[in-house]
Each structure stands twice: as C-alpha cells, then as structure tokens.
C-alpha cells in the first residue's frame, strides 16, 4: 500500500538511471541520514560508538572494497587485509615524514599506494583463475605480514614493531572524541558508498560483472580483461587501503603488524558472503553482522546465566561463525541483501499476498 511505484513515471533516461528511482526509497534514505547524523549521536553512549559503530563504519568501507573485487568482478581474494595494512602503514609513514599534509590528502595517497600494490598482486589474476587465484592471494597476506614485521623502515625502527599515532587533525579540528570520530567516518563512508554505486552503474561496473559472469564472452564483446581485472583490484585496494588507514588511525590508535592478519581477511570475506556478494547494501549488512555477533556472544553467558571462560566464548564464536557461514551458503547464498530484497518485494505487494 505504501511501497508502490504507481504514478512515478520517468520521462528522461537520467531520471530512470538515478540511484534511488522510487520516491519512497528516497524518503527512507533521507530519514536514515537524519537518524544517523542527528539522532544517533544524541542517544549513543561512548561504548556504543567505540565498540560497535566505529568498527562497523570502517569495516563496512572495507567490505564494500572487497565486494567490488569478489562480488562484482568475480576475482577471489582471501588475503585482502594485506592491503588494509598497506594503507595503514602508508598513512603512518606519510604523516610521519610529511606532516604538513592534510589528513584527507594522506588518506587519498594511502589509498592510491594500496591501489598500486593491489594492482601488482592482481597481475596473476590475468593468468590464474578461481581457486588457484584464491590461494595465490593468500601469499599476498603472508608476504605483507612478513614485510611489515621485518622491514624496520615501515615501523620507523620501533623496537617492538608496533606503531603509535596521534589523533587525526582536520582543518584545525581534532577528532578525538568518539562522537567526532563517528561523524567523520560516517561522512567518509557515505561519500565512498556513492562513488561505489556510481562505478557499479557505469561502464566499468558492467565490465566487471561481465568478467564475473562469463569472461570469454566478455572479451568477445570487446571488454579488455586486463583493464577490467586490474581496475577492479585497484579500486578495491583503494577502498580497503583507506579503510586500513582509518582502522589504524581512528579506531586502533596504535597497532602491531599482526593487526591485519589472516583472521581479518577471512572476516572480510565472511562479511560479504553473509551480507551478499555483488551488493553494496550487502556489505553493510555483513559488516554489521560481523561486528555485532561477537559482542552478542560475549553477553550470552551472562544472559543465560552459564559461566564460561573467555577462551570458551572464543571457541563458541568460531563454531557459530563457521556454522553460520555454512548455513547462509545453503539457505541463502546471496546473503542478507537478498533477504532484504525479498522483504521489499513483499512490501510492494502488502497487504496482498501475491
């Protein structure tokens, strides 16, 4: 009854191709932004910001990045946290050696460096496909782990190998309270989401999806596989590099090389599997899921009244994670995004059953 497209006719191609063609969607999005920017900061506690919202925003950005490569272009990467590390260490060294740069410039440069490295590691994808490529990307993960732990220049010759950063400063505004961090990250995420949607709707996005669906046919249509694959690696690594820099500077504050290890890579992958591959909205769902689940599981023993050691909780987490991955792959391989789309379809018909 509410969610109908009746009467919303498009008379230009531009209006037909816009991001939110249905009026109700536009209203919903506007409302969501008002809540996100206005209401949440008033109601949320510091704890909520620090352990839920801030990690969610950054991981959503990283998940979008990974989704562009895996979900839209069909190239698997199970070592993507390596590129987050590249972004983080690049940002650290830029701030260290060129302190005059504005942090926004640092972010963009860190992203570009990550993009370049990503393209380099994407070169094997031109020859190697599928599962072979997946394992090769694992090599990127382990190589980066080693690089940032052993090459002392990256950590500024720190004895312990870990790295400290000072709070981000932007145009004289120091971003150090949880509230400020939240607003900053939210703005960055929205910008990057819009860009991702634009890329996916453009000819480069179609080239990616064509490579994913049938790469031989795509080439016959005139799509250059080298350009499509490497651009996917580049853009994906850019996003993930920026996310890495933000993760290090805004969320962690200080980190050791193992902060960007295989577990993080696998978590990113799980985010897009559960959230929905090939869907930007899915990246949000997946990130939210992965951030909320451990916190829920931590509270579970208390809520059920059963005492459990932290080690036990962590084991339980692994088990539930693993089971959920399998569950989602069996029941809804297109993830939460598909469930959301089905829900919207039902809403269109409501109150009629079909």
């Amino acid at each position: 009854m509410f969610y109908r497209e009746n009467g919303q006719f498009k008379s230009t191609y531009a209006s037909d191709q816009q991001m939110l063609p249905i009026l109700q969607d536009r209203v919903f999005m506007a409302g969501l932004l008002v809540v996100a920017f206005g209401v949440v900061p008033m109601l949320a506690s510091d704890y909520l910001f620090l352990s839920l919202l801030i990690p969610f925003l950054i991981l959503a950005l990283a998940a979008i990045g990974l989704n562009l490569l895996v979900g839209y272009c069909g190239q698997i990467s199970i070592g993507h946290a390596a590129f987050m590390a590249v972004g983080a260490y690049a940002a650290y060294n830029l701030v260290l050696h060129v302190p005059q740069l504005s942090f926004l410039v640092v972010l963009v440069l860190a992203g570009l460096i990550a993009a370049a490295v990503g393209m380099l590691f994407g070169i094997p994808s031109l020859r190697i496909k599928g599962l072979y490529l997946a394992v090769a990307t694992l090599g990127a993960q382990f190589f980066m782990d080693w690089l940032f732990a052993r090459v002392k220049w990256f950590t500024n010759y720190a004895h312990s190998g870990s790295v400290q950063t000072s709070p981000v400063e932007l145009f004289g505004w120091t971003i150090d309270t949880p509230h400020e961090k939240y607003v900053f990250l939210l703005a960055v995420l929205i910008l990057f989401t819009v860009i991702a949607r634009n890329l996916v709707r453009g000819h480069i996005g179609r080239a990616w999806m064509a490579m994913r669906d049938m790469d031989v046919a795509a080439e016959v249509i005139g799509i250059r596989p080298v350009y499509a694959k490497l651009s996917a690696f580049a853009v994906s690594s850019f996003y993930v590099g920026v996310a890495g820099a933000l993760w290090g500077f805004v969320h962690l504050g200080s980190w050791e090389p193992l902060a960007f290890n295989l577990t993080l890579s696998l978590n990113l992958l799980f985010m897009i599997i559960i959230g929905g591959m090939g869907s930007i909205l899915g990246s949000f769902f997946g990130a939210a899921f992965i951030v909320v689940l451990p916190i829920l599981l931590n509270q579970l023993p208390q809520m059920l009244g059963i005492p459990m050691s932290t080690a036990m909780v962590s084991h339980l987490e692994f088990m539930i994670f693993g089971a959920l991955i399998v569950f989602f792959l069996i029941v809804e391989p297109h993830g939460l995004a598909r469930l959301w789309a089905i829900g919207k379809e039902k809403l269109r018909l409501w109150p009629f059953p079909h």
Partner: protein, 267 residues
C-alpha cells in the same frame, strides 16, 4: 522472395572477410582442416554442416577465441591469426553464441549496454562522480540501446534479469547485445536453435532487417535448411572440419558430396 534476393545481390560488395587455409586442433582432435572461404560485404553467408563439423570452432577462430595452428584470417585488408578477442571486437566483428553466453547476473538492459562498452571511454574518476562526460555518455549510449530494444521488440523486459526469461527472448537479447556493438560483420551461431515457427520467422525478419537497414554483413550457422535456402546469398558446407561445398544455395543443394555428408554416407 527471389526479387528481394536480386536486390541484395546487386548490393553485395567486395570481399571483407576471408579465411586462408585455417587448421585448428585441440590436443589430438582436428577441428578444422585447411579451410578457406571468403565473405563479401553486405551479403548473408550461411555455414552449414552436420553436428561436430567444426562450424562453431570456425566462428571462434574468426573471433580470436581460438588461435589456429595454421592459416590466417583476412579482415579489411589485414591478416591475423593470433589477435585477442577484444581487438577483433573493436575492429567491427561481433557475434551471438550457440549457448547464449549472456551475463546471468545482469538485467536485459545492462547486458545490451555491455555491448556498448567498447565505445565508452570516460575515465574512472568521472565515472566515480558520474558527472559531465561520463553522465552524458551513459545517457547517449542508453538512447542507442533503447533503439535496439525497440527494433527487437523487447521493451517490456528491459529491467528483468536475463536468467528468468524464456529461451527465445534470451536469444533476442544475445542478438541485441551483438548489435549494440554496431558491427560491420555479425556472426550468428545457430540463432534459431530451439525456436518454434513463429519465433523463427521473427528472427529471420530481424536478421534481414539488420542486413538491409544497417548493411551489416551476416555470417550465420544454421541447421534449418528452409531458412538457409531462403535468406542466404551464399553457403559454405563443412564436414569433419573440411570444406566440402561453397556456392549459392541452389548450387550447394545439388552438390553430391553435401548430400552424402547429410545422409551419413561415409566418404
């Protein structure tokens, strides 16, 4: 019908595409043996032959998907034997596929828009912001694609996911995608396979319209003899990877070797 064929024969031009002594093998299997034939501009050239004769392989060789061990392909005066498929596409040869090869994850509109990809050149930054040249390009090519959608009468399906469409419509989308590339030579791999009489008539009409309207040279693999006799100007017959006939439909129909091949007479 004969009158229409006469009109076309008057319009047929010089040789635009030719295969010279092409041989192709996969491991131990010889798919094509020393095949040579040419295609004249604006004509409708049919390739026929029993199953497994190497017809699809021949199209794949022209497209650059397979690189022949021997022989070359001459197109617009240039000879090649190991061009990449996308280079061949850019030079003006497009095709449809026997098994569709549509992009299952995209809508009809997006599938056809991928056919315009080779004409879209706005850089990544402009696309990211979707302003200026990038936006204009999207709209301009959308218009061109809508023209093709009108031409093939699939307006009602433009936003549907291709995987959910019936087979006949999917074949039309495949054709639309190939047309979107604005080719000079269009290779059609069994465009009427699996269709009923009405669908076949529609498809014939579309193919002839494309040939008349845009002057596109058509090379088509087809099993339906009625269609071949009706719409093609010249025919090539393949059997076991070798050319066993080449000429007008009437000439080929009377060729004993061709008749033997179809009747399964060993030779």
């Amino acid at each position: 019908m004969a009158g229409a064929a006469n009109e076309r024969t008057r319009r047929v031009g010089e040789v635009i595409l030719a295969l010279d002594g092409v041989s192709l093998a996969f491991g131990g299997v010889q798919a094509l043996k020393d095949v040579s034939f040419d295609v004249r501009e604006h004509e409708v050239r049919a390739i026929i032959g029993p199953n497994g004769a190497g017809k699809s392989s021949m199209l794949n060789v022209i497209n650059g998907v397979y690189h022949p061990q021997q022989g070359t392909i001459r197109y617009l005066g240039r000879e090649y034997h190991d061009m990449d498929p996308h280079e061949v596409a850019v030079s003006g040869i497009s095709r449809t596929f026997q098994n569709l090869a549509l992009f299952k994850g995209m809508s009809v509109l997006d599938n056809i828009m991928t056919g315009r990809n080779l004409k879209m050149h706005s850089n990544i930054l402009l696309q990211a912001l979707r302003i200026g040249p990038a936006l204009r390009e999207e709209i301009e090519h959308r218009e061109a694609v809508e023209g093709i959608i009108d031409f093939l009468e699939i307006q009602a399906y433009r936003k549907t996911a291709v995987g959910t469409l019936p087979y006949g419509l999917q074949k039309r989308v495949d054709l639309a995608r190939a047309l979107a590339m604005e080719p000079r030579v269009l290779l059609l791999d069994e465009p009427m396979a699996g269709m009923n009489i009405e669908e076949k008539q529609d498809m014939c009409r579309f193919i002839l319209d494309v040939n008349d309207h845009y002057g596109t040279t058509i090379v088509l693999i087809e099993h339906d003899m009625g269609v071949v006799m009706d719409i093609s100007d010249r025919v090539v017959v393949l059997d076991y990877g070798k050319k066993i006939g080449d000429g007008t439909p009437q000439e080929v129909r009377a060729n004993q070797a061709v008749i033997d091949a179809y009747l399964g007479v060993s030779h």
